[in-house]
Symmetry: C4
Subunit: 275 residues, 4 copies
């Protein structure tokens, strides 16, 4: 995966997920706040959405794992090259392992929301585990590379472990919109930073090569990381404002009515699920 | 203890404890959730179980300490070799110290649940202390070993300190099933990883030797650790599902009845214990 | 910004902010505690104050950014010197980046308190992010400097990251006066320490030069940092006592009356905002 | 203070404080639990005790500071030796700084409990700050010493920072007896470890010298630290059991009576203080 495309692909993936989370949590927060907007979403619809999200993450992870194994130069499930006495394409195996944990998180989220046979917070716990494992593998991934190469990946770790920590805090503070949006923006940051890494380490033709040993490059890239974070915060803000404005304008057109009974039954169901 | 058996033994121990915890906490969660399943377990039965668990851990720890001291090449309570002017078999003493803290945790858990004369959360605090001490001793255990040897033990530290942190969080969030199952899976991870260390450092006859200085071995072993974690999560999931299914099927056969009075008195007792 | 003035300026800024926070939070705490003092401040007045504070921070940050760019030797928005093939005045860009995040925090705080369209705790989250980013940039700022230079900046990091952590805790424990005053004193500490750095690294004429490689200087400076902390704690205490005394003496003169209705409506508004 | 006595003195101090805390918090917990024991202690008596404790800590700290300055070879408030161009007796100044923060904590605790004009948790916050500062000064205290010397002081840091963390957690979980007893045992650990350091680095006549560069000494000392911790846990347990037994036996002799009214007024006062 040491290529521009190999970084652009996960980058795009995390970008889309980040935007999706920003939209989803903004929408839920907006409808929760305005009690009159309750009819725009229902507990059952939320649950259905979570199931779809889990299924999507699961299927992308499975596709990712298969792709890592069976692309042109993939290991095709061979782990050890007995003729050469060395491990076979560890990189691909490592990436497949990362996908595996995101797949687990997706699968469990799907199960939890579809069957309700486990505590809801399990989805956040496994998301936290998936992020942590991703960061953990990157952490021991960097041996013997050039200074700038190591540095850009270390910066990436901030957003990954930040995401893991945020998801873990959500186990205890579920439904805290600030944590949810912070997670969304850290995910966006990860996405844009993967693109940046691609441009720095494998500049596409037309772009200048970077000197991987120049210290001032390192200083610039650190600052650049902060700009990416500022941009990702801005993107989440824009999404949040748009969603709030849409919910507001929908409210004016459709007056709320006869939701009383429905809501109580849903409330009951919810509290039953949680404990 | 620098042998295959010396790693397989604690590995098996942690494996069994991890499975036991996964089963116990799943069962309690399942019966707590379905109010109608309340008759499958009672507060008094839970307490009796905790007492037995504490006693078991205590006795195994005492046996472990005695074994470390009085095996063929043990120090037999001699700490310093005055003739040779050096410490006598520090390894055995270190392992005995680890057992000591688990023994403390077991003994205190036994006392707390048997007499109720101390806050319940004390058992988790001392479990946390026991895990922390184990990790602490391993941390300063690694000086001057080969690279891969150090690395596999460092990886072990993640699961040990993870267990310590989880148990510490349980002091404040007692009864949170997610933390309990996370602790069970970290304990399982520790168990399987001890076996892995045995295979890597002291391969039994028939298995290939590992090159302890090869960097790609280190990369593989890091990834392998993640697989162990995935497997331990899977094992906990399987146990959880089995327990839920058993509780469910038992419920269908035995209808709940006349538990009202019993439960209230138990509830009172419980709240009295806690504060 | 490697000059005495370049350290005295932010130092003064943080000093003023620290004193302001100490006064503001002491006043709110004093009026909250004495229910009879409720008429000295109202929820609407508090909100107006927060809006003004946000606007002030925002405008200072914008001025700071412009100053960094357009001072005599500023980069004037040029990032890369194509003729010399190197990055152009990275220092100024880094400082501008720090201002950017404080500007973001100020702007968001202004919006949250003016419109109430986002959860209140967002102001603390972004303040935490701003402090974190400041510390983050300083952390990767120190490569290749003299020992004492690195050390005084590392000490600065304690107060910066301490402030970030405190603000983050406030997201979950909003209105905890201890955290608020701790943040104020860490901010004061940062302010006085910036002045100290100025005196150590760029002694104004009349002051002795410091030997940047002497180890006993390092020992002294560490202790000196603790003294600064003690002084900042003392300053917060003095402010707190003064404010409490003033509120007390005002209470004696103006008897409380007919606040009942007003307060309930404000209370409602508040709880509506928060969830 | 580089002498046996210089370590035995603070060691004894922390030992006494640790035992005192273990006793105090055990007693309060025992009387809180048995509602019928309420007459053995009253809120006002607790407050008086806290005031006395604060005053004692304050006066010992002042004595400590004066002693550090005016003993035979103290700096007598001279900080810089202008003739020799070097800092004057930094060690004494550092120890005086540590006393300063404990003095601050004692003084503030005294004020808070005597006047009630600040939130109660302030005493824990400043205790946490005092422990943190002590650890912070030790951390930068170790440059250029022998390996074992550095190691024994690093081990000390675990108990110091552990105490700081525990006290900080108590800001949010005030009255949690487990945290209080954990703090007591970490304080005891610090006390016994100071004695141990004295014996290792400055063995009194009759004791063997330690080889400060021998690695097996380091391994032993790490394990020895765990034993100290086990002993301190045991001491706290013994104190706790004794106190519980005494309270119990007192209860049998003096029947509880007419406490109803008194307790409600105290309860009110308490809740008023806290918020």
């Amino acid at each position: 995966m040491g290529s521009f495309k190999g970084h652009a692909l996960p980058g795009s993936f995390f970008l889309i997920v980040g935007l999706w989370w920003a939209g989803k949590f903004s929408f839920w927060y907006a409808t929760r706040r305005k009690k009159s907007a309750g009819h725009l979403t229902s507990r059952a619809a939320q649950r259905r959405l979570e199931v779809i999200e889990g299924a999507t993450i699961l299927s992308f992870s499975v596709i990712g794992m298969l792709a890592e194994q069976f692309v042109a130069d993939g290991p095709r499930l061979h782990l050890y090259d007995y003729s050469g006495h060395h491990w076979d394409r560890l990189m691909n195996w490592q990436h497949a392992t990362m996908y595996l944990f995101f797949g687990l998180a997706g699968g469990i989220s799907l199960t939890v929301h579809a069957t309700g046979s486990a505590p809801l917070a399990l989805d956040r716990l496994l998301l936290s585990v998936a992020f942590f494992t991703e960061g953990f593998l990157f952490l021991y991934h960097l041996h013997g590379r050039a200074m700038l190469d190591v540095h850009v990946h270390q910066l990436l770790l901030y957003s990954i472990f930040g995401g893991a920590l945020t998801a873990f805090l959500e186990v205890f503070h579920r439904g805290n919109v600030l944590l949810e949006l912070l997670r969304a923006s850290l995910c966006l940051l990860q996405g844009t930073w993967f693109w940046q890494i691609g441009f720095v380490l494998y500049p596409p033709s037309g772009f200048a090569e970077w000197d991987l040993k120049d210290h001032s490059n390192m200083m610039f890239i650190t600052m650049c990381y902060c700009w990416h974070f500022a941009v990702s915060l801005l993107m989440v803000t824009v999404v949040y404002c748009t969603v709030c404005w849409v919910v507001q304008s929908r409210l004016k057109r459709t007056p709320p009515m006869e939701m009383g009974l429905l809501k109580t039954t849903e409330k009951e169901q919810e509290s039953e699920d949680e404990i």
